[in-house]
């Protein structure tokens, strides 16, 4: 790809965000509303927040919580998923419970957790980790059950020891599904992070937007919201990078039973499954 093509590819992806930002700028400047500050005002509040206010500490607190929780929750989910998914009986026995567990929004448990564990970092990490746990667990099980029976049979016929089999066959075989679960998990984790910091917390990005909002520092609230959005974008991008490293074989492999191109959601899969990297 030459420089011209790179610029074109970049523009193809960036024109919409730029247009949205420009439209917001024009609209907020024209409206002169107290509740909708212009982008420069938000930017100023953002810089002030980092320089003079405690926005940086809040960001660190939030990032640490969500980072630790996503690692713990997904690691636990993959381990438990390996145990359940490798057993047909366990898969059947746990299916109704797991469906129920996933269908219950974790946000609803936040008050209970705060009553039980207090308002420190620990209850927030626990809540986010559990929220992450369910989608990753369900996808790990689905991924393992979806591994072609011939793969299993090959491993058996070559007398592959159990641990080696789990590590080199089952885990990579289920990896595409596990990553799909992680994407859902990150969205869930962000919601839980913000809500857990709004409800009973003196620190964190959620608390920052709550506090500044209560004091009618609208630009600061917007700035906090922008930081949360950027954090979500950063986490998703990190996951995509990891996915490209781990699932290179999966993304490059030609689809044997490829569906017609029109199905699926190209707007999402096109960006995330980009094969250029």
């Amino acid at each position: 790809m030459n420089a011209y093509q790179k610029v074109r590819a970049g523009l193809a992806m960036l024109w919409l965000p730029i247009a949205v930002l420009a439209a917001a700028w024009v609209a907020t400047a024209a409206a002169d509303s107290f509740y909708f500050p212009t982008p420069p005002v938000i930017l100023e509040a953002l810089i002030d927040g980092f320089r003079q206010d405690h926005l940086w500490d809040d960001l660190v607190f939030s990032v640490r919580n969500i980072g630790v929780a996503v690692l713990l929750g997904s690691a636990a989910a993959v381990c438990v998923g390996l145990i359940i998914g490798e057993s047909r009986a366990l898969t059947h026995a746990t299916a109704p419970f797991l469906t129920f567990a996933r269908a219950t929004p974790m946000v609803a448990f936040i008050p209970i957790f705060i009553i039980t564990f207090g308002i420190g970092a620990a209850p927030k990490i626990i809540v986010i980790a559990i929220g992450v746990f369910w989608p990753v667990l369900l996808n790990t099980i689905t991924g393992i059950r979806g591994i072609h029976p011939a793969v299993r049979e090959t491993a058996v016929s070559f007398r592959i020891p159990k641990l080696l089999y789990l590590r080199r066959i089952v885990l990579p075989g289920a990896a595409p599904q596990i990553f799909a679960g992680l994407r859902i998990a990150i969205a869930v984790a962000l919601v839980l992070m913000v809500v857990s910091e709004i409800y009973g917390s003196s620190v964190g990005l959620g608390n920052y937007i709550l506090e500044s909002g209560a004091r009618f520092q609208v630009a600061a609230t917007w700035a906090g919201t922008v930081v949360i959005g950027a954090l979500g974008y950063g986490l998703s991008s990190a996951l995509i990078l990891l996915e490209r490293r781990v699932l290179g074989w999966h993304q490059e492999r030609p689809r044997k039973n490829s569906r017609p191109k029109r199905r699926g959601s190209p707007a999402v899969s096109g960006v995330f499954a980009s094969r250029r990297g």
């Binding site: 029976p149 793969v151 049979e153 090959t154 070559f158 592959i160 080696l164 074989w249 999966h250 492999r253």
Partner: protein
């Protein structure tokens, strides 16, 4: 690799039957089968689709246990997969791991034997050379053609260095040209390495072309209808051998036997 002569390395099936299900739902697939595969011998098992050929091969490889009768390797009962028996599966697309390079795929079974990585990779490269696939170790299986992928699967069986190689319809899903090459490769490997090869196929010509002996399966449940010694010599040639009158006689014999059985069991 393994040059085995003693009869301790004979694969023996004695009065074996295999059913699926039980009670009223019992479905008998194989009945009272007996056969032997001597060291260094090339045995083909031929029969119509649905005759239980794959079930037989799964019993031979220890993947499923027979309902009655015995499968043994020398004196050792085949009650599970043995280190002495390598299997090449019909579906190479599913049996090669797409997340492993070709070399890793071939070397992987050796990792289970706790062989050092260097030695594993050397064995894999040597096996890939044996199947005429030098220099593809760093590619992924899905970057290769179907015929090449099946060669990789064969190389994996060879690297396992088992004295017996079982192949289930190994050349069924590749094009005709690749098929001839793979058939000759299988014959060549038997001669060079002294291994026993068992090929299950529905293709009568292929069975006669490859086999020192052809085991004809037929009927429902399937039995051994006949075991035919193929007196075409060890050196086979795709054109000359298939043009011999004796080749035509043998294939006619197998075909007649299969047809008569399928009519009588109807």
């Amino acid at each position: 690799m393994n040059n085995v002569q003693s009869s301790a390395n004979t694969l023996i099936v004695e009065k074996m039957s295999k059913s699926y299900g039980s009670g009223a739902d019992e479905h008998r697939v194989l009945e009272d089968l007996s056969l032997r595969v001597e060291p260094g011998e090339f045995v083909t098992i031929v029969g119509p689709s649905g005759a239980g050929k794959t079930t037989l091969l799964r019993c031979l490889s220890g993947l499923v246990a027979p309902t009655s009768g015995v499968v043994r390797y020398g004196e050792v009962p085949v009650s599970g997969p043995l280190a002495e028996i390598a299997v090449v599966f019909q579906d190479y697309r599913a049996s090669l791991m797409p997340w492993m390079t070709v070399r890793d795929n071939v070397a992987f079974p050796l990792q289970g034997r706790k062989i050092a990585k260097r030695a594993r990779n050397d064995a894999a490269d040597e096996a890939l050379d044996s199947v005429n696939l030098p220099g593809v170790g760093d590619k992924y299986p899905w970057q290769l053609s179907g015929g090449m992928q099946q060669r990789v699967a064969i190389a994996r069986g060879l690297a396992y260095s088992a004295p017996v190689l079982l192949m289930d319809e190994p050349f069924g899903s590749v094009d005709a040209q690749a098929r001839f090459e793979l058939e000759d490769l299988a014959l060549d490997l038997r001669s060079r390495l002294g291994i026993s090869v068992v090929v299950v196929t529905h293709d009568i010509d292929e069975a006669v072309y490859l086999g020192d002996r052809v085991v004809v399966l037929g009927g429902r449940p399937a039995r051994v209808i006949d075991t035919i010694e193929v007196d075409l010599g060890r050196d086979r040639d795709q054109i000359a051998t298939r043009a011999k009158p004796r080749f035509a006689e043998l294939r006619t014999q197998v075909m007649t036997e299969i047809r008569e059985t399928s009519i009588s069991s109807r």
